[in-house]
């Protein structure tokens, strides 16, 4: 009964908790697979950079039409797409590597955003506006998140094959198919969509966390990509659920609580994961002998 009160009662009693849980599950379904691919392509920090690229777009949306979900989402998507596509095009056609070209574009985007905000002369703290609140999920926000997640999963299913091959052997992919470039750009677009998703629920910085931390966790438990995606999604949902419960039982704000739970899971995985976990390395399992 104590367990029921602690783990289930918050959700049966309060609708805002059920809505928060639904939002977290949707975010996990879309964001965690994206995070796994980002990690495999050594682009984990790209999520962070893209989050900055989105921020000015959303800010412009806010300045034009106030705290309007549609305007802020559209602004963020446009700014993010622009940066992702320009960076992708430059990286594919010149000597400049992906990380460097993305860095230049996102910094430009950020500077542009800050300039626009200061010209308009508003003094509402941007972070305040941009950090969504997972406890205040209204119908439109939930629908936007669910829609974005659906789009993500469908597109991911379409580009899955070229994307996986590009993760392991991009040169091979280039010799057998020309799907590499479109798949790459579509993938970057998905990164943007999911960051905007997270920004409605958790705020920009924590949005990246729910994408990358589960991928990091998954790396310690599985070697194949299907396993990793499954584990990433599950650990993202578990972090979301436990984070909400933690925030309900203690007084920790919900967004940070979710990421902190994911961080604890990550530390456990680093220590005890069966793929290259530290403890496992110290006490290797006996080799099976025929």
């Amino acid at each position: 009964m104590v367990l029921y009160d602690a783990l289930i009662a918050p959700f049966t009693e309060f609708e805002f908790m059920r809505r928060a849980l639904a939002a977290v599950i949707a975010l996990a379904l879309g964001g965690a697979p994206i995070g796994v691919f980002l990690m495999l392509r050594r682009m984990s920090l790209v999520g962070d950079a893209m989050a900055h690229a989105i921020l000015p777009g959303a800010a412009i949306g806010f300045l034009l039409s106030g705290l309007n979900l549609f305007a802020m989402t559209t602004g963020g998507l446009i700014a993010g797409f622009m940066v992702a596509i320009l960076a992708g095009v430059v990286a594919r056609n010149t000597e400049l590597k992906e990380d460097a070209s993305l860095a230049t574009f996102y910094l430009t985007s950020l500077a542009l955003g800050v300039t626009i905000v200061s010209i308009k002369g508003t003094n509402i703290d941007l972070l305040h506006v941009l950090f969504g609140d997972i406890l205040a999920m209204d119908d439109p926000t939930l629908l936007v998140i669910a829609f974005n997640t659906t789009v993500t999963l469908v597109v991911l299913a379409v580009i899955y094959r070229p994307l996986v091959i590009e993760c392991v052997d991009p040169v091979f992919l280039r010799t057998v198919s020309r799907a590499g470039a479109p798949a790459h750009l579509a993938f970057l677009a998905l990164v943007v969509v999911n960051l905007v998703n997270g920004f409605h629920a958790l705020g920009t910085l924590l949005a990246v966390g729910l994408m990358i931390l589960p991928a990091g966790i998954a790396r310690f438990w599985s070697r194949d990509i299907t396993g990793m995606i499954t584990i990433a999604v599950i650990s993202a949902i578990v972090s979301g659920y436990l984070g909400l419960v933690l925030s309900f039982q203690t007084k920790v704000p919900s967004g940070p609580a979710i990421i902190l739970v994911a961080a604890v899971l990550y530390v456990v995985s680093v220590l005890f994961g069966n793929v290259s976990g530290l403890v496992r390395q110290m006490f290797p399992a006996p080799h099976l002998e025929a």
Binding site: F16, R19, N123, H128, V129, F131, D133, L135, D138
Partner: protein, 298 residues
């Protein structure tokens, strides 16, 4: 043909001189900076046309989390007086004054008001009680008279008139509140800005965000408020002009409480808004409260 041309030129020169002269006149007026819009309104009412008031945090801005811009440092550097609220409301201001190299005198408008202590900090929202607003006005009047003794009589007369208006306002608030049945005098608003109002006029305010808007609520806070609304059958929740409305809308949807409208807490609205001055602001809040609370639980 020459005559009109020369006259025209003469006029131009005259216009130019006039244009040059008017800023010079403005410089004679006392240059005042107020940290946020409500203080600016007090200063305008006391100083009238003898002072030039600019506010750092303008209409609908949030003074809790303001980030100053270089233009603000410039305003402060040019000012004779800087009027602040005190009670640690403008945490960002002392550094700004220092870095601007200003010699302005800092006037704390809450001097002489006993703060409500919440936890470890003072509640800064003292202006929400009209009795405190009168202390603000008196402090501002004294500071202006000290800074510009030659206009002292004007400041004294202006303040006199304004204080009388505030007395009237105070009476109106009390009459309006007396009409609401005591059991209905419970209000949920976004952040804890109405403590002084609550203490002065016998209304109970409950807020998810605490004294500063600069905090994030936990699920526990929200759940506690929802439970409280259900248990006490609180009739209405209110939005604030400086905060994200979504949280309140969620709470209203979950409890069946009405959204009673927008309360102006820490900032006035723009010129054309519902609360361009302090007196308008208090009247607007009172009307919103009485409209929503009169009817009792939905």
């Amino acid at each position: 043909m020459v005559q009109p041309m020369r006259r025209f030129r003469f006029c131009l020169v005259g216009l130019l001189l006039a244009a040059l002269a008017s800023p010079a006149c403005a410089q004679d007026r006392l240059n005042i900076v107020a940290s946020f819009s409500i203080l600016g309104d007090f200063a305008k009412n006391v100083g009238g046309d003898r002072i030039e008031v600019s506010t750092l945090v303008g209409a609908n801005g949030d003074v809790h989390v303001y980030t100053p811009a270089p233009a603000d440092a410039k305003k402060i550097a040019d000012a004779k007086l800087v009027i602040i609220n005190g009670f640690a409301l403008e945490g960002w201001l002392p550094r700004l004054v220092q870095s601007s190299g200003s010699k302005a005198k800092i006037v704390t408008a809450t001097d002489g008001i006993a703060p409500r202590v919440l936890g470890v900090a003072d509640d800064p929202h003292a202006w929400q009680s009209v009795a405190n607003a009168k202390v603000y006005v008196a402090n501002i009047r004294d500071a202006l008279m000290a800074a510009d003794p030659s206009d002292g009589a004007v400041f004294r007369a202006n303040a006199e008139g304004y204080l009388a208006k505030l007395d009237g306002l105070d009476r109106d608030v009390r009459t309006a509140m007396a009409q609401i049945p005591p059991a209905h005098r419970k209000v949920i608003s976004t952040h804890d800005a109405f403590g002084y109002f609550a203490a002065a006029y016998g209304v109970e305010f409950i807020a998810p965000l605490g004294v500063s808007t600069d905090s994030e609520p936990s699920a526990r806070d929200i759940a506690a408020i929802i439970t409280q609304i259900r248990a006490a059958k609180i009739p209405a929740v209110f939005l604030e002009n400086i905060s994200d409305p979504r949280l309140m809308q969620r709470i209203a949807a979950e409890t069946g409480a009405r959204i009673g409208g927008t309360l102006y807490s820490d900032s006035l609205s723009g010129e054309k808004g519902e609360a361009p001055t302090y007196i308008d602001m208090v009247r607007h809040n009172i009307k919103a409260l009485t409209d929503a609370l009169d009817q009792g639980p939905p």
